[in-house]
């Protein structure tokens, strides 16, 4: 992620270069859309989130300190936009609901969860089941998993984006992975 980020034309985008912004938009448009669409289950809302994310990015890029963290910064904006859309639809209580298992932080950090979600391999005949299980996850767990899938963000970056402690991210990821263990167990490396 860091090496990839160094290739992004963030410095040129700071100076308002449209070509740089086009490259950044092209690089992140589909991951951002997939993230927002899986969270909000609404095509138009996901498109709105992508657009609003970039409009906010243009306005606030001067405040970005570390250009290598542009990706996680952008997903942080998208996270806020998704929350606003979720609230508008009256899903605030569900979105913000704490997962009871979030407490078991110490035990989980040491536990062997199996392969990282980014390395999961899914057979074509398992795809429907994969998405069914993804849709059944609580929003907080699904969000962590999506951020890991779509842009290979580190746990630290996910904690920064979602605004929760690192231990909580680990806990959520652990429980999300457990939901997929039976599905992916035999096929995963």
């Amino acid at each position: 992620m860091e090496a990839d980020a160094r290739l992004l034309p963030v410095a040129a985008a700071r100076s308002g270069d449209p070509a740089a912004w086009e490259a950044l938009f092209r690089r992140f448009q589909l991951p951002l859309y997939a993230y927002a669409r899986e969270l909000l289950h609404d095509d138009q809302a996901a498109l709105d989130v992508v657009q609003e994310t970039f409009l906010n990015a243009v306005r606030h890029l001067a405040t970005l300190r570390d250009e290598a963290r542009f990706g996680s910064w952008l997903f942080g904006i998208a996270h806020q936009r998704c929350q606003q859309h979720g609230r508008r639809r009256g899903r605030e209580a569900r979105w913000l609901a704490a997962v009871p298992a979030d407490q078991d932080i110490e035990d989980l950090s040491a536990a062997d969860d199996g392969p990282d979600p980014h390395d999961w391999l899914v057979r074509s005949e398992q795809e429907a089941e994969f998405f069914r299980r993804l849709g059944e996850l609580p929003d907080t767990q699904r969000e962590v998993l999506l951020l890991r899938f779509v842009d290979d963000l580190s746990l630290d970056e996910i904690a920064g984006i979602t605004g929760v402690p690192l231990g909580t991210v680990k806990s959520r990821l652990h429980h999300a992975k457990r939901s997929f263990r039976l599905l992916l167990g035999p096929a995963s490396p």
Partner: protein
């Protein structure tokens, strides 16, 4: 078999044309300056370059000042009790005796000089009359 990322992005590949249209509109807006790209202000630039960029240096300076303050506080605290110690030290018998001897010597040395001075007339006690005229007490003292 595909990775989770691949199947996730493939699932939403249908949205690609709409995302492309969104991107083109966004870039067109940038090009025609409808979307203003704010430049960092002078204050932001100064803050970033003088404070944020030199954060370790500022932390070091703050730590040094903290150490200096602690050292100052620890060295100043006992001196508050020290006057008593100093008095006790001065009041030791040897010093007391030495001081008494010095005081006695000083009185003896000064006594002849001081005596006549005490007899000098004081204007407030002088009765009416010329200031050059000595009063009775002065005349009596001169006679003695």
């Amino acid at each position: 078999m595909k990775t989770a990322r691949e199947i996730l992005l493939a699932r939403h590949a249908d949205a690609q044309p709409r995302l492309d249209a969104l991107r083109e509109a966004f870039v067109a807006g940038l090009s025609s300056a409808r979307i203003a790209v704010p430049k960092p202000s002078l204050r932001t630039t100064l803050w970033e370059q003088l404070v944020v960029a030199c954060r370790p240096a500022w932390i070091g300076i703050a730590a040094a000042w903290a150490v200096i303050a602690v050292l100052h506080a620890t060295s100043a605290a006992p001196s508050a009790d020290r006057p008593h110690a100093a008095v006790a030290k001065v009041a030791s018998p040897e010093v007391e005796a030495l001081l008494a001897a010095q005081r006695q010597l000083f009185v003896e040395l000064c006594a002849p000089v001081d005596a006549p001075r005490r007899r000098t007339p004081e204007p407030a006690t002088r009765p009416s009359g010329s200031i050059f005229r000595p009063n009775r007490r002065d005349r009596l003292a001169a006679a003695v």
